[in-house]
Symmetry: D2
Subunit: 93 residues, 4 copies
Amino acid sequence: MRGYSMHKDDYQRRLARIEGQVRGLARMIDEEQYCIDVLTQIASVTRALQGVGLGLLDEHLGHCVREATERDPGEGDAKITEAVTAVERLLRA
Amino acid sequence: MRGYSMHKDDYQRRLARIEGQVRGLARMIDEEQYCIDVLTQIASVTRALQGVGLGLLDEHLGHCVREATERDPGEGDAKITEAVTAVERLLRA
Amino acid sequence: MRGYSMHKDDYQRRLARIEGQVRGLARMIDEEQYCIDVLTQIASVTRALQGVGLGLLDEHLGHCVREATERDPGEGDAKITEAVTAVERLLRA
Amino acid sequence: MRGYSMHKDDYQRRLARIEGQVRGLARMIDEEQYCIDVLTQIASVTRALQGVGLGLLDEHLGHCVREATERDPGEGDAKITEAVTAVERLLRA
């Protein structure tokens, strides 16, 4: 069982809210709202998405990475490098 | 008429795709897929959102900012500072 | 003359300060200070660098892009796309 | 001993190179080089700084966080949350 399954409901609520925000963006563009307001809302959706990612990262490090390390420190190191590469992808998204 | 109204259909298609990706994220978490795969997908959705933002910024600079500058250079300067502040919010999202 | 030449002294002061911060990072690592403190300082230097970039972007849009647009709107459009591509590189740095 | 002390020389070399790049930025502005070229160079320095941060994060997770977890899993959790908060600061820099 993945570590994050305890917080599944919280993630589902946050993603449902983000989905609504993306629909809101489509509506803003349909109504030709001011560009800068759309950009502000895009920054807000991005931040909400990153928040989900940071929550998952926290749980991944406390569960998957920890368990891998307990089985085998070398496997733990590989998981850490994998997680840092995922952080790099978020940073460069 | 906002500058981006010419590309409305393109933005709507991209946002519909992003909305589908966010639903995909909810499904990945529901199915307890591997955290790192969810993080990779979050980076991909973030990048797609930023792409919409960059497209809007391009049109905003070519339309709203340009028209403001033609009316009054001081108004143009204010619009530029407003756009740069929006970029800052994207950078720090 | 580039638009930013009016603010040269301000940029030079900010960059001299950033250079000092980078030397401070080297010293923190030499003294084996706590990783998280080094990361916090890296975030601070990054933000200072981005601040210089945003200042340059503001002036570029108000000078080079504006002058290009006055000469030829098509040339202005090309300059805008070039500036948005530069923003994209900052976002993905 | 901090985990990163094994790679001290590598970090020192990278930071010396970044310091040189920041001095190069000051020179570019002094010579009034093209804004977009300065922005491209700022993106490159930012990426180099983030690279140092990601290296430190990797070692921090494999050393400090791992040792804290071995002493006490609750302490390990606190260290993980601290590291994720540091990632958040990098993301929002």
